[in-house]
Symmetry: C2
Subunit: 582 residues, 2 copies
């Protein structure tokens, strides 16, 4: 090693040691004959000292010649600092220079390598190697490594086996968003990159592997939002001979283990909420349960008072913003504008200020007298000083709209703290979802999810919308971090499901024939779950975006700004692959 110590490890106990450190020049100071250089590496920062008159002149000269981000090697004696820095782990000591070597020079970086950088997103991505030197980004990747390690430790201990599934697999027309790979050896044919190893992990259950996991790259070619990446990582798991309860217990254990070992946070027992309850109370299948503010249904008490908007609505629901009765007209207007934005699409927002005991001020005073408002307040458990918001409309839509308002109020009231964690299971999802656009049933989770035994009769009677699935999501702080299901494991049921989803028998055979064949050779009952690892890292790191938990992310156009990819390829190569660019 070119060093005896890292920049982070020397302490007052090391006084007098002759050491060699290597690293990057973070900062230089030159004060009347005293020169200090702060040197940084992955482990910390240490201060070097040279003193004119004492330190040999050639060393002083080198010290004066180095600039920010130069890579140096420095040898010297650990001495006690005159003025200590309690904010630095190495702040009690410094190194009195005896030798210094420039290992590599550096141009002036295009932005500051500090926690608060002046680099914009684009610059940071282009010079990602400099951005990654920032302690904040480095810590994110260190957190990711720890979560990876602890995930493996937990699952290894439970007898899960890590098995690599292939990356070059088969395209399915269903997966319209497959990335494909032309095959040179089989011209005109393509591999696809997996959106998940779903069928392979089921095949591993057929093969008897019993408990499988993999931390694995998956791929989806879709238009990217701020928090999506074309390649992403899953903690992918599957178990045999289990019930849904076993899966929930096992992976509740995983998430608790991760929070405990990596964040030193003891999660309480995860509550289980049905999909129906989550929609009714929070208007979302991934409720942010860091705060209450549950929806209250008001149809029975609010209709029939002459307010046409409510009278004609399928559903009238409200939430209570505690202590917000003094919200100004301007604040309420802002919130009204918020819910009327096209992304949310509400028609309006009704408020009731709970100003004092039995004294209310509302935007619908024309239609509701104080007694009626008091009755609403009582139903909503509003107290003096609270502010009630009420929305109405088509049930599905208004729930979504009020959900957005609830989250916005959570933000405004500081109820969504990044260092507080509220995790739960959402269960009993519908098996199928009707898509108006394509006029077809879609699998809410995926086509391999089994219906609840007690709902199979509905499936057979064609009451498809009411069939519940053995499907579950883990939700933390309003984000779905993982989801899974108990799978179909019998050919007949799988064929029925694919037929409901619009597959012809030929299509079903071409795409999933191998899986259905496998079901005929002794497939055990099985189920599993997959966690979005990038997302889990971001949530546990208290961040909104997954991007800084990925070493080399792509931008919203799917482009790697550092290597400038994708790019054109040579005509020869296209020819060899048997394809043409249109």
């Amino acid at each position: 090693m070119l060093r005896t110590h890292t920049c982070g490890e020397l302490r007052i106990q090391d006084l007098g040691k002759k050491v060699t450190i290597t690293g990057w020049v973070q900062k230089l100071r030159n004060k009347g004959g005293l020169l200090w250089i702060d040197v940084r590496d992955r482990y910390g920062v240490i201060q070097l000292l040279a003193e004119e008159g004492k330190t040999p002149i050639p060393i002083i000269d080198i010290c004066k010649s180095v600039g920010r981000e130069y890579v140096i090697s420095a040898k010297g004696i650990v001495i006690e600092r005159v003025s200590k820095n309690p904010n630095m782990p190495t702040g009690d000591i410094e190194i009195m220079l005896e030798e210094i070597t420039i290992l590599n020079a550096s141009k002036t970086p295009p932005f500051l390598i500090e926690d608060d950088t002046d680099g914009g997103d684009e610059l940071r991505m282009k010079f990602r190697y400099l951005d990654l030197r920032r302690a904040e980004v480095r810590k994110n990747l260190e957190l990711r490594h720890q979560l990876n390690q602890q995930t493996r430790q937990y699952l290894d201990n439970l007898g899960f086996i890590d098995i690599e599934t292939p990356v070059l697999i088969k395209s399915t027309p269903e997966g319209a968003r497959d990335f494909v790979v032309p095959s040179r050896m089989n011209k005109g044919e393509f591999y696809a990159l997996p959106q998940s190893p779903q069928t392979f992990k089921q095949i591993l259950m057929v093969a008897g592997f019993d408990r499988y996991y993999q931390i694995v790259k998956c791929f989806r070619d879709e238009d990217l939002r701020a928090d999506r990446q074309p390649e992403f990582t899953q903690i992918d798991c599957e178990m045999s001979f289990i019930t849904q309860e076993d899966i929930l217990e096992t992976f509740e254990g995983l998430i608790k283990h991760l929070f405990k070992t990596v964040k030193n946070v003891e999660l309480p027992i995860l509550p289980t909420m049905t999909y129906a309850d989550a929609m009714q109370w929070y208007g979302s299948d991934k409720p942010d349960t860091r705060f209450e503010m549950k929806f209250v249904e008001l149809n029975s008490i609010i209709k029939g008072k002459g307010f046409q908007v409510f009278d004609e609505a399928e559903l009238v629901i409200g939430i209570v913003a505690k202590g917000c009765a003094q919200y100004t007209r301007k604040q309420i207007d802002e919130l009204t504008e918020f819910v009327k934005r096209p992304q949310i699409g509400a028609k309006g927002l009704v408020y009731i200020r709970h100003e004092a005991e039995n004294i209310f001020k509302s935007s619908v005073d024309k239609f509701y007298n104080q007694d009626e408002l008091a009755n609403i307040a009582k139903t909503m458990s509003s107290n003096v000083g609270d502010l009630m918001f009420i929305m109405s409309g088509e049930a599905k839509k208004v729930r979504k709209q009020l959900c957005e308002l609830r989250l916005e109020m959570g933000n405004r009231l500081g109820l969504r703290k990044k260092d507080e964690f509220s995790a739960l299971w959402v269960v009993d999802f519908p098996l199928l979802d009707w898509d108006d656009e394509t006029q077809r049933w879609h699998a809410m989770h995926h086509p391999f999810t089994s219906p609840k035994n007690e709902d199979i009769v509905l499936l057979e009677n064609g009451d498809l919308g009411n069939v519940r699935a053995n499907a579950y999501d883990m939700v933390i702080n309003g984000t779905e971090v993982g989801g899974g299901s108990i799978r179909i494991f019998q050919r007949e049921m799988q064929e029925k499901m694919l037929s409901i989803l619009g597959f012809s028998p030929e299509q079903a055979k071409a795409q999933f024939g191998f899986l259905m064949d496998a079901f005929e050779y002794g497939t055990p009952p099985h189920g599993g779950i997959a966690f979005g690892f990038d997302r889990l890292c971001a949530i546990m790191g208290g961040a909104d975006s997954i991007r800084d938990f990925i070493a080399f992310p792509k931008n919203n156009a799917g482009r790697d700004m550092m290597i400038n990819s994708p790019s054109t390829i040579a005509d020869e190569q296209l020819k060899e692959l048997g394809i043409n660019v249109l």
Copy 2:
């Protein structure tokens, strides 16, 4: 869990316990009122017993109805066996059936699920889920999992950080064997799948991560040999602030750790052999050192005796096959045919039998008298009873040919045992290799490998063939399991190297500009290594082919026989991707 115990864990101590097991029916026997069913899972095999007259008739009936590979659940009492089976861990006990449920039926498998299967390669690949049930294949994947775990443990302990590098990267014309991925969002442009994360791990060193590792899929679109796969896995590592010695020490430690923890084998200190010595002694840069049989150079003593073949040869070399003097004419003819096969291409093979003290019988008796043969024997350290083989020709070619003969003799003499392991480092590889076909210099390792400091003068003088690289391979039992180098870390040298390799400045910039730019912002000295993980698993598992250490391998045509991939894709999808099939 649907079971209380696995099929592998019950012992005599468990007598009297009421247990439930689940698994696959391995075997059924029905002997005069006694029915036995062997049930198998990942953990072992256990025997169930039903007895006519004692066991309820419905249970007997179910027992009689199950077939091989049915998935069942069985409940009963652990009892002592009348006739124990010492070859089975559970052989002292059996389960007296009280309940049995068929969880899923099975058709008769197309081949036997036994260690020695009757399934051919193609059938096994098509029904891979059945093949994976065989204990032998399962154990290979379990070995792989252990090696994965122990690799991580070793590297984690040394402060290496696991960082995921991207899979969708940039195609390089150099990497003619890149798999490419058309970009839908950037029509006409392509990503490439990485042949290795080489440039990214170097960028991580620029970023200051210091010690990186990843167990990562890599891709190469080349014509497949028996032991190549289009997707393969590497243990990929890189370190900063190190010398070559540090790398060798660190990864010698890794391999010893793996052998110790997984195979309980203590590897001795790995010898280091220069490339030049390896070529001189073994005719290979990956010598199988499980046995000696080193090459002996004979030019100085064998030429000038009138045997034109030797006289005109650039190099005459031989090996001694100990104790083979009694080889028959037929055996020797076989070996002569072996080296004359087109794959090896030798013109002939000279032998000298060391029949008795100073008595020799050779195929060149016409040209060499007994004294001369004695002198050759002395030079070759041959003893009475040995057989000498001598080959001649162009130095480079004859070494390769004799290498093949040496390995063949190793096989015939049983000197290449699968459970013996001989590991070494081969170092000081040439930096560059002249390719006659393309009339160009190629990087022997890759374009980022640094030349030895003392050979830079040769590089500058244009003596390119004699420049040695800071490159090293780890070789086990004649197979390269890992290789790496100390990298170039200065822009000027990297530019020079790319220019030697025939890159124009524009090409160099287009492909590796980001790396060379990075070199200008404080790049530390660094180097690394990558191990072929599939290969390492196969060698440690004592197998020749990597295929059975991969859960879902592809065949020699790059095809996944189970899912039947690659396959054609829909015209719509091609259109969306902006490509055409020729």
